[in-house]
């Protein structure tokens, strides 16, 4: 019992050292039917093939062979009421076409997250259990529309009264998937007591990042007079990259009823490269277009067209490492309770910076000014895009319970609190929405039919409301790095599973 108290104390200290958050940042909320049902408190349980994610050491104590498949259905249900105002000290404001004061929702999507894997006991190195699994350690996918110069209460058509045909159907969004193909191995080092496990990962990152930036009009007055002072730039960055990751863990059966666990995750940076589609919606002003003294470059900035071209891009995805502790206690033959604490080094992640090269498809005149550097505007169409963040490390605490009603039905319940890495920064954007300490509850059950297991678990995650005010330019590149306003969020996730033991 003293061990249990000590372990619980360590977990509590770890939890308290990370005061406020949830699958923070863009980390996956977990996998596996039992683990999800227990709120993620599974590291010291780790008794099925999904231990590959939580603690590979658990493989060592799996006596049979397992094959499993999960399908997670995720619905991000976010709200954003923009207050995107460039305001001077005297209260003059401008939204540049952002739909201020309107409650906006992310695109309605039910996202699916398939996960599969198996574990087999092989007679290598003395009964080592191996497993191969594929899952997503990092995943996020939301899309928004929040720019409409003709929106109610916005009417910004003085900028360009005929641009609707050019506005992209999906204006900002982030679809980031990091899939891990993991080879796991777990082996007992002290029979029935201590096991160690390791997982070697091949990572594949796919990124589709839609962004809207306002670039300062480089021309002089009156060409850049409001409402033409800022030019909207829409980008769609679509690419992928490969990398490696490493998981390791230890599981110690301290007593017959108490398990203690520790695990760590070390993903390496992934360089994502691909192509970017640019769309610049230029101001429209017929009078200035016809004006005497207007040259070809001037005309480009008042003609009202859309300038579209492509380029290659490269960005570095800096993935955070994490460390976690776990405790599981078997109260009786039917009930097991567990508690985990995880600490993720989100401060390592610095945002995304897209480096653009080899622009193609520029209109000839734009191409000339871009490559010959003959105008101050030469840099305008070739600027890199940076979305910096200053995130903090974040902690997560998970509590869970498993109750075997009988040999056919197992009930699961869990609760977790997860800190936001962006809790102290103002670079909040709808693309990575993590408003604060999240609270998640989950429940579900598993039906055991012979060698088959069928499960269903649902989880609801509640985010605190936040309001961000003021425009932020973190890296002083004249590009606003946040979308201020009021944010609300919640997430619904349902996981269905099928497993087979043999």
């Amino acid at each position: 019992m003293r061990i249990a108290k000590t372990a619980a104390g360590l977990l509590a200290m770890l939890a308290l050292s990370a005061p406020a958050l949830f699958g923070s940042g863009f980390e996956n909320t977990g996998m596996g039917i039992t683990a999800k049902g227990m709120g993620g408190a599974f590291r010291a349980v780790a008794n099925d093939w999904t231990a590959a994610y939580y603690n590979p050491a658990g493989y060592a104590f799996i006596l049979d062979n397992q094959l499993g498949f999960n399908l997670g259905l995720v619905h991000y249900r976010n709200e954003y009421t923009p207050e995107y105002l460039a305001t001077d000290g005297y209260g003059n404001e401008d939204s540049w076409g952002i739909l201020n004061d309107q409650t906006l929702y992310n695109f309605h999507e039910i996202l699916n997250k398939p996960t599969l894997g198996f574990a087999v006991r092989l007679p290598f190195w003395g009964e080592t259990v191996f497993g191969l699994s594929a899952y997503q350690p990092f995943d996020y996918n939301v899309s928004w529309n929040l720019y409409n110069p003709y929106g109610t209460g916005v009417d910004f058509s003085a900028y360009n009264d005929s641009l609707s045909m050019f506005i992209p159907g999906k204006q900002i969004g982030n679809n980031l998937d990091v899939v891990a193909f993991q080879l796991s191995a777990g082996r007992e080092f002290k029979e029935g007591k201590l096991a160690l496990g390791i997982g070697l990962q091949l990572l594949r990152a796919d990124l589709e990042f839609h962004d809207l930036s306002f670039r300062t009009n480089p021309r002089g007055t009156p060409l850049n007079d409001r409402p033409r002072d800022q030019i909207p730039e829409f980008t769609v960055n679509d690419g992928y990259g490969w990398g490696f990751g490493l998981r390791a863990g230890a599981l110690w059966k301290a007593t017959e009823k108490l398990n203690l666990a520790i695990s760590a995750y070390l993903p390496f940076d992934i360089t994502v490269s691909g192509t970017t589609e640019f769309t610049y919606i230029m101001p429209k002003n017929d009078y200035l277009y016809r004006r005497t003294g207007i040259d070809q470059t001037d005309q480009m900035f008042v003609a009202g067209g859309a300038i579209e071209f492509e380029s290659d891009f490269e960005t570095k995805l800096k993935l955070p490492s994490s460390v976690a502790l776990g405790l599981a206690y078997q109260v009786n033959d039917k009930l097991t309770v567990a508690m985990d604490a995880e600490y993720t080094l989100w401060s390592y992640y610095e945002g995304l910076e897209f480096i653009y090269t080899d622009q193609q498809g520029l209109p000839s005149h734009v191409d000339q000014i871009t490559h010959e550097r003959v105008y101050p505007e030469s840099e305008f169409f070739s600027q890199n895009l940076s979305r910096p963040v200053e995130w903090k490390n974040a902690g997560k605490v998970m509590l869970g319970a498993l109750y075997d009603v009988n040999q056919t039905l197992t009930l699961l319940g869990g609760f977790s609190m997860d800190q936001s890495p962006s809790r102290e920064c103002t670079e909040i954007t709808p693309q990575f929405l993590d408003t604060g300490t999240k609270k998640s509850i989950s429940f579900g059950g598993i039906v055991h039919i012979n060698q088959w297991n069928l499960g269903m678990v649902t989880a609801y995650t509640s985010y605190p409301d936040i309001a961000i005010s003021g425009l932020t330019d973190t890296n002083k590149d004249n590009i606003i790095d946040n979308f201020p306003g009021a944010y609300k969020a919640s997430t619904y996730e349902t996981v269905m599973s099928i497993g087979y033991r043999f």
């Binding site: 619905h75 249900r77 709200e79 460039a86 305001t87 001077d88 000290g89 005297y90 003059n92 404001e93 401008d94 739909l99 309107q102 409650t103 906006l104 929702y105 992310n106 695109f107 309605h108 039910i110 928004w144 529309n145 929040l146 409409n148 003709y150 929106g151 109610t152 209460g153 916005v154 009417d155 910004f156 058509s157 003085a158 300062t216 007055t221 009156p222 850049n224 007079d225 409001r226 409402p227 002072d229 800022q230 009078y287 004006r291 005497t292 003294g293 009603v405 579900g444 059950g445 039906v447 269903m456 678990v457 649902t458 609801y460 425009l471 330019d473 004249n478 919640s490 619904y492 349902t494």
Partner: protein, 439 residues
């Protein structure tokens, strides 16, 4: 039924309920405006004689304007509404305020009830010569037939008369329901119109402009820009093909768009210090071709050049009327050294058109029935802020109250031009509407 099956059924029901309730499709929340397009009259022009008969490059004698007409003033209701006249800045034409979002702002503010409907007549300035300050010179107490036109007989006079009696839209013919405003040079024009026609307008709203030509200390204001003009001209000449020629500042003077300060002084000189006025033409039309013959030309005053005038400020060979072929020479308010001098004839003509001079001519109390709103920013171009605040101080000494709105650039765009017209238009419309309501 076994108990575990009941539990299982309840579990499935609970999960299904959460999914059903929590995951319905809300759409994106993006709404689009449903603001009806009411009346925009892009051809709200009016031929005005004789005030514009001799205006250079205006053979049709047209005052060019574009008009915003609110829905209630259109048929079938045709409800009479107040009138606001807005004057464009030195480089703005009749579309200036619409390019800055006037239509959208007015529609939105009227729809929300923030302002009452009003007809807004936008007068274009002349961008060719930097604008004529919406003014004109006088000789022997009478306006002259000068190339800038005689705006004093138009802005607060014939234009108002035409709009309230002859224009297609019903407009309330009461000075209490009539306002005027302007930006930059239009600000000067707005004040000038009120000073020349007291009691015609009950409200005036302006942003920074040349409101005190010689500044707070009688030695700044526009005077600080004299050297800028010389620098513009010198830079242009030295870089030209003619740089091997001896530089004659006043002979080679250029008024192209790339020299905006020079342009403004040309326009002002044509209005305030033309060399010759009272040019009498005969114009006749044959087969739709307008022909003008010069019958006589008279100097604006006995001391103009040639014939005893100030040769040091004389600019000639610059502007020729494309119909009459007549050269319109003028005097800049400074000489080739950038000096006006106490005895400079041309500068004295400008100062007689300075607002404080016009105020003293009109007499104290000229603004008693007119509320004044002025937006000013330390970042405004061309000393406009200093001139504006000096004018505000002058009005204060005369006992006239001014509602001052200070503004500045935000972190991403300083006030170097008219970046804030879009913002300030809202405040100007609100100011006039509130005044109309209270009258």
């Amino acid at each position: 039924m076994p108990r575990y099956l009941i539990i299982l059924a309840l579990l499935i029901c609970a999960i299904s309920m959460i999914i059903f309730v929590g995951c319905d499709d809300r759409g994106t929340g993006v709404t689009t405006a449903n603001v009806s397009k009411y009346g925009i009259d892009p051809g709200g022009d009016h031929a005005i004689q004789p005030e514009l008969t001799y205006q250079i490059r205006n053979p049709q004698e047209m005052l060019l304007g574009t008009v915003y007409i609110p829905e209630v003033a259109m048929p079938p209701s045709s409800q009479p509404v107040p009138l606001l006249i807005l004057l464009a800045p030195e480089y703005g034409n009749r579309y200036y305020f619409f390019e800055a979002g006037l239509e959208e702002i007015a529609n939105e503010m009227i729809a929300s009830g923030e302002i009452d409907p009003m007809v807004i007549y936008c007068v274009g300035n002349d961008p060719t010569f930097g604008g004529f300050f919406y003014g004109n010179s006088y000789a022997n107490g009478s306006p002259n037939n000068i190339p800038s036109g005689n705006y004093d007989g138009i802005i607060g006079d014939k234009l108002v008369d035409w709009l309230t009696h002859d224009y297609i839209t019903a407009i309330i013919d009461q000075s209490a329901k009539r306002g005027i405003g302007g930006v930059g040079q239009g600000a000067y024009g707005a004040f000038r119109a009120v000073l020349k026609h007291p009691g015609v307008f009950s409200s005036i709203s302006v942003t920074d402009g040349p409101l005190d030509f010689n500044g707070r200390d009688d030695a700044s204001g526009l005077m600080d820009l004299f050297q800028t003009v010389i620098d513009e001209q010198s830079a242009h000449f030295i870089g030209s093909d003619a740089d091997t020629m001896p530089f004659d500042f006043f002979y080679h003077f250029d008024s192209s768009y790339t020299m905006p300060v020079s342009m403004m002084f040309v326009g002002g000189a044509l209005a305030f210090s033309p060399n010759d006025t009272l040019v009498e033409f005969t114009r006749y039309t044959t087969n739709n071709v307008i022909t003008v013959t010069i019958d006589a030309r008279y100097p604006i005053a006995a001391d103009t050049f040639p014939g005893g005038g100030d040769s040091s400020t004389f600019v000639y060979n610059v502007i020729t009327d494309d119909i009459s072929g007549h050269d319109f020479d003028f005097h800049l308010p400074f000489d080739a050294n950038g000096s006006s001098g106490a005895s400079n004839w041309a500068w004295s003509r400008w100062l007689s058109n300075n607002l404080d001079s016009l105020y003293m001519q009109a007499g104290n109390g000229v603004f008693d029935s007119t509320k004044i709103w002025v937006a000013t920013s330390p970042c405004s171009k061309w000393n406009y802020h200093e001139m504006t605040t000096s004018w505000i101080e002058f009005l204060g000494t005369q006992g006239d109250s001014v509602e001052v709105h200070n503004y500045s650039g935000h972190g991403y765009s300083d006030v170097s031009g008219d970046e804030y017209t879009y913002d300030l238009l809202r405040k100007m419309l609100k100011f006039h509407s509130d005044n109309f309501k209270n009258n």
